[in-house]
Each structure stands twice: as structure tokens, then as C-alpha cells.
């Protein structure tokens, strides 16, 4: 359980990008919601900077036929299953969940066909 009343930070990384879209949910705004719901709430927001909008476009491109993966598995259930408790440099606690938006390229053909 996310037992402490601290913000939840989620980061959605498009493909193999080193930087993702970061969103913060204040305590009371994320409990009870699935991680998938939070992600779609985040990417539905409109108040992004120009740089963030670029990342958002990349995420949407990946999610068109793609998946949200954590540790090679599709995300499922509430954020609590994935959240790590971290601290800012100032010592403030927060939960952090990072995932990748990936459109798997099922490249090649089966061994019996040509690749």
C-alpha cells in the first residue's frame, strides 16, 4: 500500500528516450485510481510546455498500437504495486513510478520463413 500521504510522481518515457513526461499527483488525487487511469489522465492534460508537448507526441505515437511497460510487463492495477519511496534533494518524500510507452516491433519472420 501507498501508506504515506505524499505526492506520487509518474514518468512516462517514450521508446528508449532518456527523458519522459513527468506528472505529479498530490495526496488524495491518485489513491483508488489504477496506474493506467493516471497515465491517461496525465497524457490528456493540456498545460504542457513546448518541450513536454514534444515528449507527449512521442508517447502518443508509441501508444498507438503500443503498450505501457514496467520491467518488461504491461502495467496492471494500482500505482502502489510499482511505487518507490524516494526523496528530493531537500528531503521531501514522494512516490515514484517510471514506465515506458513502447510499440513492440515484431520484426523478422519465423525461422522457417526468411527474416
Amino acid at each position: 500500500m501507498l501508506g504515506q500521504s505524499v505526492p506520487l510522481v509518474i514518468e512516462i518515457l517514450p521508446g528508449q528516450a532518456g527523458e519522459g513526461l513527468i506528472d505529479i499527483y498530490e495526496p488524495g488525487s491518485y489513491e483508488g485510481a489504477s496506474l493506467r487511469e493516471l497515465v491517461y489522465r496525465t497524457i490528456g492534460k493540456k498545460n504542457w510546455s513546448i518541450e513536454e508537448r514534444q515528449i507527449l507526441e512521442d508517447i502518443n505515437r508509441q501508444l498507438s498500437g503500443g503498450k505501457l511497460l514496467i520491467g518488461g510487463k504491461e502495467i496492471r492495477g494500482p500505482a502502489q504495486g510499482y511505487a518507490l519511496l524516494e526523496r528530493t534533494e531537500e528531503g521531501e518524500k514522494y512516490y515514484y513510478v517510471s514506465m515506458r510507452a513502447i510499440k513492440p516491433q515484431e520484426g523478422g519472420s519465423s525461422v522457417t520463413e526468411s527474416s
Binding site: G18, E19, I22, K73, G108, S110, V111, S115
Partner: protein, 388 residues
């Protein structure tokens, strides 16, 4: 040709051509007289001409010899070029006059896309700027002081323009200007002087062109110019899992991203641990992904270094280097290695659990690890294709 130019043979230089001596013949005499009238009328160099009582036949165009001297006598040409560099250009350090545009694209756009930022929590909101990334690179790279000094001079194009203008005189002596009879040896000396001037002029043109390219760096801070000059010289850089290296002695590069260790599963759910490798894309097209290290994988044909990754058919590589083309190719390559292998289909060149053992088979048994491996259980190593 070279033997002729080093001999004592008498030559006639006229109208931009070398004329070689020929024996007298009354028919030639008639043709010379006719030819002179015809050529004068057309303004062209005559085929045959006379100087005193000697007859000469038009042979080689002098400008053509100058343009192709490097092929006629490569050794002398190279000596001349080296001499010009040592006398006029080495103090200017042409390498520091301009920074390769490809390098700027790699450092400012491609690497920052992949390099994992460590300071995400400080900013919390808002994408990190390229400048923040470059600051980090600068701190890690340990740039020697001389590059900051060079960066300070980088903006001073005025004095550099003057230096370039002053190199080796501004006019190229016209070897054909001094016409008339001469010996081949003497003509050869004049030719070499003209050739040297031509090399100087070409070097000046090149340097001036490079100098113009500096305009694009006008808004860049000195510390970033120092960083670019530094990596322009070192030819490689790596930060947080992404980097590049120069392709031998060429002005081309490979941009790469480390995969880190990862695992794939076969159709029975057994796991295979793949070592870290670098997925790289060349800056010279086509922009397709390779694995740099000696490596085996269902999407690589053999077990060797620099293998092309088998990617989806719909991927059409770009031919001209660009940040977007390189990023797309790198993404495609990593995507194929991580997520491309469908354990139930067994797609690719090889199956992880291939039992056929024919001559093209690659065996992956040595990569097998247990599901209970602590690195898997802790999440340190991800099973990338666990969603199939």
C-alpha cells in the same frame, strides 16, 4: 609525360598550351600558314605553329596539367601540399576553425535524447534543456584549459580572416603568361610554382568556407564551444549510456546507445540473459542499426561484430544524416533486440530454443539463467518480452 617535363627538350608555350617540336615537311609548312589564319579568325590555339625556323605541334593544355598534377606525379604533389601546410597553415590549426555539423547534431540532439537524466527530481516538472545536459557532459569530460582558450578565440573571426588573407600572397602566377620558347625543365619549375600557388589558393578558399560556418555558433556560450572543440579533437564521448565514436580516420561517426543487460524468454518461459551491447547507427547513410560488439541474438544473422539488426519491414531508413533519422534507427534497433522476439512465434533468424542444429544455427544455451535468479527477482534485469 613526367619524363618529358624533366628533359632538356625545347618547348613552345603559347595560348595556354605546350607545343612540342616536330620535323620540317613542306606540307606542314603549308598547313602552318593556313592554320595560323584560321586560328586567328576563330580565336583558338592553332594545331601547328612555328617559332623562327622550327615547327611545333599543339599537345597539352597547361591548366589541365595543373588540375591533374596530383594524378601525374602523386609524390611531388603530396610534398608540395605538405610544404604549403607547414609554411602557411599549421599555425592556424584548421581543425579548430570549424566544428563538424554532424558532431553538433550528435551532441546537441541525438545523445541528449537517449542519455538518462539523473536530475529529474530536482526539476520535477519541465523537460531538461540541452544546456543542462551539456553542462553535465562538460563536468564529466574534464576539458583541458586550452580548449577554453581556443573557444575564447573562436568568436574572433576578424583576425583569423586577416591571417588567412595574408597567407602566401593573393595572386596565382599564370604559368602560361610567359609564352615563347623554353626548355621542358625550366617550364616544369614554373609549373610547380603555379601548382603551389594553386594549392595555397584552394586551402585559403577552404579555410574561408570553414570560417563562414562559425556563424551558427554565434549564440553559443564559450563553455559549449570549448566542449565541442574538445570532442571534435578526441572523436568520442559517452554519457549515461549514450555516446559516439569516430569511424576510423574518416569524418564520419557511429552514434550508439548501450542496451545494458536484459533477458528474453522462449516459448517454454525459460530465460536467456543477454550481455550489454551498443546499438549504433552510422552518420553515413543508410541510417540502419548495427550491434557494435561480437554478439548473438535471434535478430542477428551470425555471431560477430558490426552486424545489422533485422528490423521490421515497414522501417525505411533515411540516407542523409539527421537527428530524427538517427534517433528513429536507434529506437528501431533497440526495440528489435528488446521487444521484437515473440517467444510463441519464434520469429527472427534464429529461435532461442532451436533444436535443429543445422549449419546456420546459433546456440543460445550458454545464455540460459534460472527464473529464480536474484537479478530477475529484484528487477535489476528485465525480461523484455514478457508481454507476449
Amino acid at each position: 609525360m613526367l619524363r618529358l617535363l624533366q628533359s632538356d627538350t625545347e618547348l613552345l608555350v603559347e595560348a595556354g598550351f605546350i607545343y612540342l617540336p616536330m620535323v620540317f615537311d613542306p606540307a606542314v609548312d603549308k598547313e602552318v600558314n593556313m592554320g595560323r589564319d584560321g586560328s586567328r579568325a576563330s580565336g583558338r590555339a592553332p594545331q601547328l605553329t612555328r617559332s623562327g625556323d622550327k615547327y611545333f605541334l599543339k599537345s597539352l593544355n597547361i591548366n589541365s596539367i595543373l588540375d591533374n598534377y596530383g594524378k601525374l606525379d602523386p609524390q611531388t604533389y603530396e610534398d608540395l601540399r605538405r610544404n604549403v601546410f607547414n609554411r602557411f597553415l599549421c599555425s592556424l590549426n584548421p581543425a579548430s576553425i570549424s566544428i563538424d555539423q554532424k558532431l553538433k547534431t550528435i551532441v546537441f540532439q541525438v545523445i541528449p535524447h537517449f542519455a538518462r537524466k539523473k536530475n529529474r527530481l530536482r526539476k520535477m516538472r519541465g523537460a531538461a534543456s540541452v544546456e543542462q545536459f551539456l553542462d553535465l557532459v562538460g563536468r564529466r569530460a574534464g576539458i583541458p584549459a586550452r580548449f577554453y582558450a581556443e573557444a575564447g578565440r573562436f568568436g574572433d573571426t576578424f583576425s583569423l580572416k586577416k591571417k588567412i588573407r595574408d597567407i602566401g600572397g593573393s595572386t596565382v602566377p599564370q604559368v602560361a603568361d610567359k609564352g615563347g620558347l623554353t626548355t621542358a625543365k625550366s617550364f616544369h619549375q614554373r609549373l610547380l610554382k603555379a601548382l603551389e600557388s594553386k594549392i595555397v589558393r584552394e586551402a585559403k578558399d577552404r579555410l574561408e568556407g570553414l570560417l563562414q560556418g562559425r556563424d551558427q555558433y554565434a549564440d553559443l556560450q564559450k563553455k559549449y564551444i570549448a566542449l565541442l572543440l574538445f570532442i571534435n579533437e578526441t572523436g568520442d564521448l559517452e554519457l549515461n549510456g549514450a555516446g559516439f565514436f569516430r569511424d576510423g580516420d574518416t569524418p564520419e561517426y557511429y552514434v550508439y546507445v548501450h542496451t545494458g543487460q536484459y533477458a528474453l524468454k522462449d516459448h517454454k518461459g525459460r530465460l536467456y540473459l543477454f550481455p550489454d551491447c551498443r546499438v549504433a547507427v552510422p552518420t553515413r547513410g543508410p541510417l540502419v542499426p548495427y550491434v557494435v560488439e561480437k554478439y548473438k541474438h535471434p535478430f542477428l544473422w551470425g555471431h560477430e561484430s558490426f552486424q545489422k539488426i533485422c528490423v521490421a519491414e515497414r522501417f525505411i531508413p533515411e540516407w542523409k544524416f539527421s537527428a530524427s533519422g538517427a534517433i528513429r534507427a536507434l529506437e528501431e534497433g533497440i526495440n528489435a533486440l528488446f521487444y521484437g522476439y515473440n517467444s510463441s512465434r519464434g520469429n527472427g533468424y534464429h529461435r532461442l530454443d532451436d533444436m535443429r542444429m543445422d549449419k546456420n544455427s546459433i546456440v543460445f544455451d550458454d545464455l540460459r539463467i534460472l527464473r529464480e535468479d536474484p537479478r530477475i527477482a529484484s528487477g535489476e534485469i528485465e525480461v523484455k518480452n514478457d508481454f507476449y
